[in-house]
Amino acid sequence: MSASQLSAQIAHNGTTLIVFAVFVVCVILIALWGAADSDTPRRFFVSGRELPSARNGIALFGDFISAATLLGTPGLIALAGFDGIPYLVGPVVVWAVILLVIAEPFHNTGSYTVGDALARRLRPRPVHLAMGLATLVISLFYLTAQLVGAGALAAPLLGISGEAAQNYLMVFLGVLMIIYVAISGMHGATLVQLLKAAVLLAASIFLAALVLAKFNWNPSDLLGTAARRSGVGEDFLAPGARAQGTGTEALDRVSLQLGALIGAAGLPHILMRMSVVRSARAARRSVQWTAVLTCVFCATAGILGFGAAAVLGPETIVAGSPSGNTATLLLAHSLGGSWMLTVMACVAFATILAVVAGIALAAATSVAHDLYGAVLKRGRATEEKELMVARWAVVLIGCAAVGLSLLAERLNVSFAAGLAFCVAASAILPALLYGLYWRGFTTTGALWSIYGGLVSSVVLAVLSPAVSGGPTALFPDMDFNLFPLQYPTIVSAPLGFFLGWLGSVLGRDRPDQATYSALELRTLANAEETSA
């Protein structure tokens, strides 16, 4: 069944549009409901720091799991077998790292943005500027990736396929995101993320149960059938079933996995959620919630991936979409009929909506708080002005992301998302870790690390085979492909760490011992618990 046949079948159904419309109305009502609670920057950015930890943990899960994990990864597993598994392991393991290393210290710095956390011990204006720019770059890449990915949902949601329908859906999603983030800030984002987390878990667990029931609740049967139908036999369940094993490709995959792990720990919208709760203990409990939910979801996604391979077979999946992005939807249709397909499409839409809301909010916070409040106004901006700038920043960033995604329809979604993770791993994470843990870190080191990581990851990505020099590249007619890897994390993240050290050692400014001691005391002693 091809994508157009699929859409034709749904157009007959007709209930799809009604379900979808009900869903959209719910989202807008949520935004209006949250509006009254977003009247000061503290409430708009971080819900007044008083969200209960369980709710924050579930929302964090909703913030983190993107359409790439719901649609892309099962598709990849269905087509490439074992080679898709690392995409499920990275998102789980990262929560142990965030819990142990980042969550509580970051909460205790009492910041809205990463720039805030560093500005507590370094010269505020330059680090706010650098972190603000890095946050903007990451957010634009990630937003664009999510919006382009949403285009794939046009056929199952609207019942029409083709480029125009995809564009409509992207613009519609962007406008919806702008409306409710601009109106209700963190409060609205949290509500949508909670809703998304609930429907995502319920729908995917239900679908996975259908898959397992089909194989008599025997996972080994499921794996065996998937391997048999794949055409490569038992090799399907081992590394390298589809990919050629050249050294460069192996390095590229390790680089991608490194980025998936340490990049996620530096994503601004994830870090921001550490500040939404009352105490370090609550931040810890939030992350524990997220770790468990992510683990459950990733196990389900693995079952869906092998389930798609076993139930549908590779020909059907490739006919739906060459990259396998519609495998989950096709599986839903095959097991639960068109009703289940509609539900899964709405779940996927909610997934994207919740993720773009979190990113847009983090980007707007960074613009209003770092770039406007700290850099332009030198920390003397009034609360009303900062809030107004934040709301307009949501509109501007949303429009820019929609514009970019309309221009970059050829963009490979996983490449753009991987690049966002790469910038987070190279520009934000090194400075954040040094800032929290290293006494000798200086402003010069921070600037070298942030700008060095930012420039190196973007430049290397531009010179990569994903952008030019091949038929599948973004600009297939040009060739400035000088760097062999698609994902530069393995080069740029160590470079970010190295430059942070080098700048601190060589720079003329000396580390400020007194402010570091104060910050360390604050992070160690859970100081926010008393002053919040």
Binding site: I85, P86, L99, D235, L237, L261, V292, L521, A525, N526
Partner: protein, 124 residues
């Protein structure tokens, strides 16, 4: 007995004097802040590093030793898939361990540090 005319000559023994420096080899007992820092750095950070190391080792193995990962264990479950499941399990275990460790060790220390600081208001 020391002469009052030799002001630079030090007394033989400081023991018992309020100006006595700590004897060599016996440093101050660590303050609570230092203990808290040491706990975090010597326990928590190495565990986090081990988790990252295990993940990267798996990533490398999958790309270098594909044959090893294809060894079948039970039914159609092979070593590679089992290691992936194991990583999920270790993540949950590490999270549980940390929660317990933080509750029993880190939180009481942090609380006493905070109690010592609050009257002086150094956190504001």
């Amino acid at each position: 007995m020391t002469s009052p005319f030799e002001p630079f000559e030090r007394p033989r023994s400081y023991v018992g004097s309020p100006y006595a420096p700590p004897p060599y080899g016996e440093p101050d007992p660590p303050t609570e802040v230092e203990r808290l820092r040491a706990e975090r750095r010597s326990r928590v950070l190495p565990v986090a590093a081990a988790v990252v190391g295990f993940y990267l080792l798996n990533a490398l193995l999958a790309n270098v030793a594909g044959g090893l990962m294809a060894v079948r264990l039970v039914g159609h479950l092979n070593l590679g898939l089992a290691l992936a499941l194991l990583q999920g399990a270790t993540t949950l275990l590490v999270c549980r361990w940390y929660a317990r460790y933080a509750r029993t060790t880190l939180d009481p220390l942090a609380e006493s540090v905070r109690a010592g600081l609050e009257p002086r208001g150094r956190l504001r």
